[in-house]
């Protein structure tokens, strides 16, 4: 047997240069094998290594000796021994999650991700599948479609693997019975359609005997399809698909060898790029044109998906790690709230509201799960309610990030829609996620209907209600800062609400003008609404000029001690007037706008605000940080 397969490759001996030339044009396929211990997975992998001549003579001699000594196949070679070296390690208590094995044929190089073990199956399989182009799902022909077959298929599909091979193994043990084979395919097809698998390639094999692995088996004359190796050698790989999509490249590193060169290095996630292409940098609004596509082997006239390159741009613009370069006409969506599937990989469960670090593309952000919609039971595919996510749990969640992230849905572009979650304390990788789509803020505002007392409202949100009262001149930056603070609180998993001129003056207080009396009534109503909202357990932010001390004191008195936080946005009138974004000061100076605070109506600065923000020293972002910081003591 060994001599047959291990005959010298004639081309290597005769013309090594021709051989090398041929092998330089090989492509690469990464795949994962999914099956339980008894499905013959190790035997199949061992067989593939053997049939593609990856086993050296010394290993083969060892294998033959071991097979006789401890093998399960009598005098025949036990291929499983080639890959089962991990058993010993398991006894030593070493965690085996994913082992990678390599083999090559004349047409392709293969990397096989092998994931043994049952306990950690979800975590391990998702890890192995994340880099795979294809999944080989093994079925024992005697047993047919089992719960684990469904589980493996679901996970492969979840991670976005489009190519699925259903390897119906141990055909020798069912006498190569076509009816058996057909009935398994029928069962599988029904299930596959149900979870959204479009198609799959079924192959009747015997890992042990080698049927339909490298060569067509005489025992299955009724099977007309490819052998397993044929199929692996010819199936289209994902990279070919990604190149047809719009150009996207996350900037990994800014390449600045000297003052004359500034390049942006990264690996192209999808599409193609060439000098002269108009590009846009996200997040942000900067645009430019590609000047050069630089590599050490010389500038390229075009580069595409999968290549690591360095781009230079025609304009001196700001672009840094974490930003994504896209075509000017096909930019990415940028968002800070998403629906995503999360797979939990740590012993300590995922808890909504807890902050984690998210790495997506080349950027990192703080992220919280704001709402767990449901969990998926990986054995039944049933959707079940859940509050947390335990190890190996899979949940569909809403998440909020601390900053805007350029992304694409995972199904369309894994590089821009897949993320990992990192524990902030021990830096462990605790979860993996796949973005479905962005949520618009309005979809995700908290809405309270439960009619119990204020403590209960607060307790269920796991927070202390607060009223953050921002006061300051028109143009001082109240609304901008309040918005940033709310965004940060939201990303921390806090339940918040922002009351400002836009949502109060146009509705509730639409009947009020700007006389002193109306101003007082305006503040009173806002105070009352804020009171109701804190009763509901919320952290309320308000951004109103609120010029008079007495009204601010009135509002303060509505609240329990410590709940009202007065924040003075301190901006000198000259500065506020110079900003005058809405042109209000100008109108007031002309006399077109009466009773304008700071011009013809007084502003009484707070005497002892809880927090004072000097906007001549701090940017809006820094101000928001400072506010969060002083609050965190009391949260």
């Amino acid at each position: 047997m060994a001599n047959d397969i291990y005959k010298t490759d004639e081309l290597i001996a005769r013309d090594i240069d021709a051989y090398l030339e041929k092998h330089q044009h090989k492509t690469m396929l990464r795949f994962i094998t999914c099956g339980s211990v008894d499905d013959g997975k190790s035997t199949l992998i061992g067989r593939l290594l053997y049939d593609s001549k990856m086993i050296f003579e010394d290993q083969l001699a060892l294998l033959e000796a071991d097979s006789k000594r401890v093998g399960t196949q009598g005098q025949e070679i036990d291929f499983a021994l080639l890959v089962d070296g991990l058993a010993a390690e398991r006894e030593q208590g070493i965690t085996i999650d994913v082992a990678y094995r390599f083999f090559a044929t004349d047409r392709r190089k293969f990397i096989v991700a092998d994931t043994p073990g049952h306990e950690q199956y979800t975590r391990n399989m998702v890890t192995g599948a994340s880099t795979a182009d294809l999944a080989v799902i093994l079925i024992d022909a005697r047993k047919g479609v089992l719960t684990q077959t469904r589980r493996h298929s679901y996970l492969a599909h979840l991670v976005g693997i489009r190519n699925i091979v259903l390897a119906i193994n141990k055909m020798d043990l069912v006498d190569y019975d076509q009816a058996r084979y057909d009935s398994i395919i029928g069962d599988y097809r029904a299930f596959a359609e149900q979870i959204g698998i479009d198609g799959f390639q079924a192959i009747p094999i015997s890992g042990l005997k080698g049927d339909n692995i490298a060569s067509k088996s005489d025992a299955t004359p009724w099977y007309q399809g490819p052998t397993l190796l044929d199929y692996l050698e010819t199936v289209e790989i994902d990279q070919s698909r990604m190149i047809e999509r719009p150009f996207r490249m996350a900037v990994q590193w800014v390449n600045r060898p000297n003052l004359d060169f500034r390049g942006f290095s990264g690996q192209i996630a999808s599409g193609r790029i060439k000098p002269g292409d108009a590009v846009r940098i996200l997040p942000g609004s900067t645009s430019s044109t590609v000047e050069r596509v630089v590599t050490m082997d010389g500038d390229l006239s075009e580069a595409g998906a999968g290549q690591s390159v360095t781009l230079t741009l025609a304009d001196e613009i700001d672009c840094s790690r974490g930003q994504v370069i896209t075509p000017a006409g096909q930019p990415l969506e940028v968002a800070d709230q998403f629906e995503a599937t999360i797979v939990w990989m740590a012993q300590e469960p995922m808890i909504p509201g807890r902050a984690y670090i998210m790495k997506i593309g080349t950027t990192q952000a703080t992220v919280t799960v704001t709402d767990e919609k449901y969990q998926v039971n990986v054995n039944t595919m049933a959707h079940e309610p859940g509050k947390i996510l335990a190890l190996n749990g899979i949940g569909v969640c809403n998440i909020a990030t601390s900053k805007a992230i350029p992304f694409e849905p995972y199904a369309e572009n894994p590089d821009l829609g897949g993320f990992i979650l990192i524990d902030r304390l021990n830096n462990a990788t605790v979860g993996a996620g796949m973005i479905h789509f962005a949520l618009r803020r309005s979809h995700n505002l908290p809405w309270q209907t439960i009619d119990v007392d204020r403590n209960a409202h607060a307790a269920i949100k796991n927070q202390q209600p607060r009223l953050l009262w921002l006061t300051g001149l028109s143009g001082s930056g109240k609304t901008t800062i309040a918005n940033l603070v709310e965004k940060k609180l939201h990303a921390m998993g806090r339940h918040t609400f922002l009351l400002d001129g836009t949502n109060v003056r146009q509705g509730l207080n639409k009947d009020l003008g700007f006389t002193d009396a109306d101003r007082v009534e305006n503040i009173r109503r806002i105070g009352e609404v804020a009171k109701l909202m804190t009763d509901a357990g919320l952290i309320v932010l308000t951004a109103f000029i609120s010029p008079f001390r007495s009204e601010r004191r009135m509002v303060r008195q509505l609240f329990p001690k410590g709940e009202f936080v007065e924040i003075f946005i301190d901006t000198p009138i000259e500065v506020a007037e110079s900003r005058d974004q809405k042109g209000l000061y100008e109108q007031a100076r002309r006399g077109d706008l009466k009773n304008f605070t700071g011009i013809d109506s007084a502003y009484e600065p707070p005497e002892a605000p809880e927090i004072r923000i000097d906007t001549t020293r701090l940017s809006a972002e820094e101000a928001a940080e400072a506010i969060i910081e002083s609050l965190s003591m009391s949260f």
Partner: protein, 299 residues
């Protein structure tokens, strides 16, 4: 633009890994052992950061017992890359005159394992690139690309991070460090094909030539300098040999060969029938020895 070849994909992946490390850690270093894998890794580093010089130094943890040809190429390669070359020799091993003839496994422990730890500590490196491949050995098949070490350089196999997609988590506590293996997915054949394709300079010892040798304990050893003590009955003979891996010359077995060019070496390798690590005395103890050495901090 067609589909990338397997070598292009491997190259691109390695470059991506190196850039991630440089972007996310404070003080990276590249362990440079002068072997063929190091040669490929250095070449990839040049590509990753071109036109910049790779923004980290090369570190050679020396044992004073490497082949003379290796020392020559080491200096040349660093000079040509324009990179700083740090050579570290464990002062204790130097003082005690530790050598492979008299001290057995202590030689590896002190020079390499201890030497590496000392060097990383002395310079404060928090990430070190190494040229290990997953296909080298069974125990490496499951090794991560980013392998974390505690502040005292222990490798905790139970506590390694899952690696998904190409998202490497490089966050670590103060004192912890990462060993990074950008060649994880390369095989020996990939390395040779790439050296051939990219015309990367390698130590001449990989190519066959007549060299002074003795046969000891079943290994063909090269008598590379005068420090090689001959045992009774041993005589130095010229043999046409080459090496498949390179380390300390008294510990590295050669193969008899007539393959004097790179293509002939590849040809011979493809037609050969024994696995690569056979020539290394260090692995001969027991199959789990690599695992054990790794836990102790050997690369």
């Amino acid at each position: 633009m067609t589909t990338l070849t397997h070598l292009q994909r491997l190259e691109s992946e390695s470059i991506h890994i190196m850039r991630e490390v440089v972007a996310e850690v404070e003080r990276p270093v590249m362990l440079y052992s002068v072997g063929k894998d190091s040669a490929v890794m250095l070449h990839l580093a040049k590509k990753a950061f071109y036109p910049s010089t790779p923004p980290f130094p090369l570190l050679h943890v020396d044992t004073t017992w490497k082949f003379q040809d290796m020392y020559r190429l080491r200096e040349k390669a660093a000079r040509e890359a324009g990179m700083e070359l740090l050579v570290y020799r464990n002062p204790e091993a130097l003082a005690r005159g530790i050598n492979p003839f008299d001290h057995g496994s202590l030689h590896t422990d002190l020079w390499k394992t201890e030497g590496l730890k000392q060097a990383l500590d002395e310079y404060g490196f928090d990430a070190a690139f190494g040229g290990a491949r997953r296909d080298e050995e069974k125990s490496r098949a499951k090794e991560r690309v980013f392998s974390f070490r505690s502040a005292n350089h222990r490798w905790d196999p139970k506590n390694q991070r899952p690696e998904l997609w190409k998202l490497y988590n490089a966050r670590k506590a103060k004192g912890e460090s990462i060993r990074v293996f950008p060649l994880s997915n390369w095989t020996e054949l990939d390395i040779w094909q790439y050296i051939h394709l990219e015309q990367i300079e390698i130590v001449p010892l990989y190519l066959s030539a007549p060299r002074p040798t003795v046969i000891r304990d079943g290994l063909i050893l090269m008598v590379d300098d005068h420090r090689f003590p001959l045992r009774e009955g041993e005589e130095v003979r010229m043999r046409s040999i080459r090496f498949r891996t390179l380390g300390c010359y008294p510990l590295t077995g050669a193969v008899e060969s007539e393959a004097a060019t790179l293509t002939e070496v590849i040809q011979e390798m493809l037609l050969t029938t024994t696995s690569e690590r056979q020539g290394r005395a260090i692995d001969h103890d027991q199959s789990a020895s690599m695992e054990k050495k790794k836990q102790e901090g050997y690369f």
